[in-house]
């Protein structure tokens, strides 16, 4: 029973962070209709920003959120404005050339970071990195619990933004029908850039929250891009609620897979779910939740 509960806790806490990563990718997916294959790499850049803040200025990783998120927002806007938007106008050989562009951007980010910081492993060790509290005999990592709380708060804020504000309505309008949105006077290009920026900022939040319990090197982006992709498909492409559900499902599946099947097959469990969803529930969790 202890093992079961501990697995459940580990899965939910990890799932909270996955949800944040997935929500960011989903937002970009919804508005841009492309899979952002540089998502994990953007998260990696945010983690390096957090590392620099902590290492050189002694800034706590949670406060570094206020630097890493705006920084990545700007990076996302810049990428959209100067690399992806021009591609929309070009007459292209392949309709997917924006996706190819994101792959390239991911590689450039990885190699630039490698050039600056080398391939060395880095980690941020705070007083609470290895701290844990116990409820009964179940251990809760302090850092992951705080991260889960902040992730919930950021997700709630995202919903408020999408549902209640003009900006959110514009984003949803562009996601639904670009031409109609443009006819209603929405500046579509600006909304695209904003959505890319928001998606990048969400990835940044996940990276910054993860750093105190994990570690960092330039190639860390790849595995997280893959996870974000699985979560987005799991959630039904473009559905924010679905992505949050998808994140939790993936976190739980990895944790239970690790405990009851074997940790060696952790990634396999995620990919099997991915295949199963594509085969039996092609619209993802969206179909279950109808949001």
């Amino acid at each position: 029973m202890d093992v079961f509960l501990q697995t459940l806790v580990a899965g939910v806490l990890k799932g909270g962070l996955y949800a944040l990563i997935g929500a960011g990718m989903t937002l970009i997916m919804g508005v841009m209709r492309i899979i952002n294959l540089a998502h994990g790499q953007m998260m990696m850049v945010a983690m390096y920003i957090t590392y620099v803040c902590f290492h050189y200025w002694g800034l706590d990783p949670y406060l570094a959120l206020f630097i890493s998120m705006p920084a990545l927002f700007l990076l996302g806007v810049g990428i959209q404005k100067y690399t992806l938007n021009p591609l929309l106008k070009a007459e292209s050989l392949l309709p997917e050339n924006q996706v190819l562009m994101t792959v390239g951007i991911g590689m450039v980010l990885t190699e630039v970071i490698r050039f600056i910081f080398t391939s060395n492993y880095l980690s941020v060790k705070t007083g609470y990195s290895d701290a844990a509290f116990f409820l009964g005999r179940i251990s809760f990592s302090v850092a992951l619990t705080i991260a889960f709380g902040i992730a919930c708060a950021i997700t709630a804020f995202l919903f408020w933004l999408l549902v209640k504000t003009d900006l959110g309505r514009s984003i949803r309008a562009v996601a639904q029908d670009e031409e109609a949105a443009a006819l209603m006077g929405i500046h579509v290009e600006r909304i695209r850039s904003t959505a890319m920026g928001l998606g990048a900022a969400l990835a940044a939040a996940a990276g910054t929250l993860l750093l105190p319990v994990y570690y960092l090197y330039p190639d860390i982006g790849g595995p997280f891009t893959r996870r974000a992709f699985i979560i987005t498909v799991l959630g039904g492409l473009g559905s924010t609620v679905g992505a949050i559900g998808g994140g939790l499902v993936l976190g739980l599946a990895e944790a239970f897979g690790a405990t009851y099947i074997g940790m060696a097959s952790e990634e396999m469990v995620g990919l099997i779910i991915f295949l199963a969803v594509l085969l039996f529930l092609p619209e993802g969790l969206k179909r279950l939740t109808r949001v």
């Binding site: 501990q6 697995t7 580990a10 844990a132 251990s139 994990y214 190639d219 944790a255 690790a258 405990t259």
Partner: protein, 406 residues
Amino acid sequence: MNKSPMLFRRKAFAVWSLFFAVAWGVVSCAPSGSDQSAKAETIRVGVVLPLTGEQAQFGEIEKDSFQMALEEINGAGGVNGKPIELLIEDDTGRPEVGRSAMEKLITQNKAIAIGGGYSSSVAFAIAGVAQQRQVPLVVNTGSDDKITEQNWDYVFRINPPASEYPAAVNSFLQEVVKPKTAALLYENTSFGQSSSKSFAEQAEKLGLQIVLKEGYESGAVDFKPLLTKVKAAQPDLVYMVSYLMDAALLIRQSRELGLAPKLFVGGGAGFTLPGFAANAGDAAQGVFSADLWVPSAPYPGAKEYFDKYAKTYGKNAEYHGAEAYSCLYVIADALKRAKDLTPAAVRQALAETDMKTAFGPVKFVSYDKKTQQNRLPTYLVQWQNGKLETVWPKEFASQPYIYPVP
């Protein structure tokens, strides 16, 4: 009417030429040693190492050590008056990239001997190419047992195979700790599987009961489900085969969960690197590890190598570096003795190697299923106050061991 196919063709042409331009750029950016116009007097020796990707940190230590050995050898007159030219290729940690690096070194650069081979899977892949192309390869790190169990006469290995890593650990357990139960965690790679399998076999001989044996995928965020199971099994000993950051996370999360066996033992690799203590922090205190080489080892040049490396690069070397450093000495020694400078003659000379290096005496012998394998003793080290101390066998100890671990 035929405008659009024309346009399409021109675009396709543009895309393809861009593709080739990039591909060509990548090739020509490769280490400049591949310059065909290099002087004919040099002797070309290839090296395959992971210089980018997840294992780049190890590759860097080995590359620096190869360079150090190269300068020393060439400074002392090279091989019978001819300097060695080192051609270092990046395998990025992937077997298929390693294979093409080998092909390039052999066909394009005409290397007559090759060293390197960091990860077991890459080392195995490039050993296959060496055998097929009949160019001698001296493996210096890849430790999966099967690499020297194929009867490949062009493949030599100076480091002990993974199954022999825990030799010193076992004698320490037998004489000092006498544990009853053990849990075994290993990364699911050929190195991890090979080491853990042999540890399990040897543990049985010691009367040690393996209560849990599980692999994991390298790079996991959260080991707690796995460690919870270990905690429930309450073993006396936890033996782990992991690379650097998995090792640091495993130890940190074990402490977090309150997992407290009598001792933690690492099976080399990540547990002996300076980065382990840096990333695991206080959690590293008291952790034991198998080790293949220590600066206090009784080999001529071991201490000198360690000091010189520390002075040149400002960080501490460990066994990977010593392996690489000695690898080039072994190759240079064979080149000196070879009848002529052909791969076949160098292979013959390598087979007759009998020399002392900073990594230990090197002589390629055949035993059990293995061929052309060097045999060396191993050591047990322990992290004490942020420093890696040799604690076993006693005659080489730099500090007494701390056990029971407080």
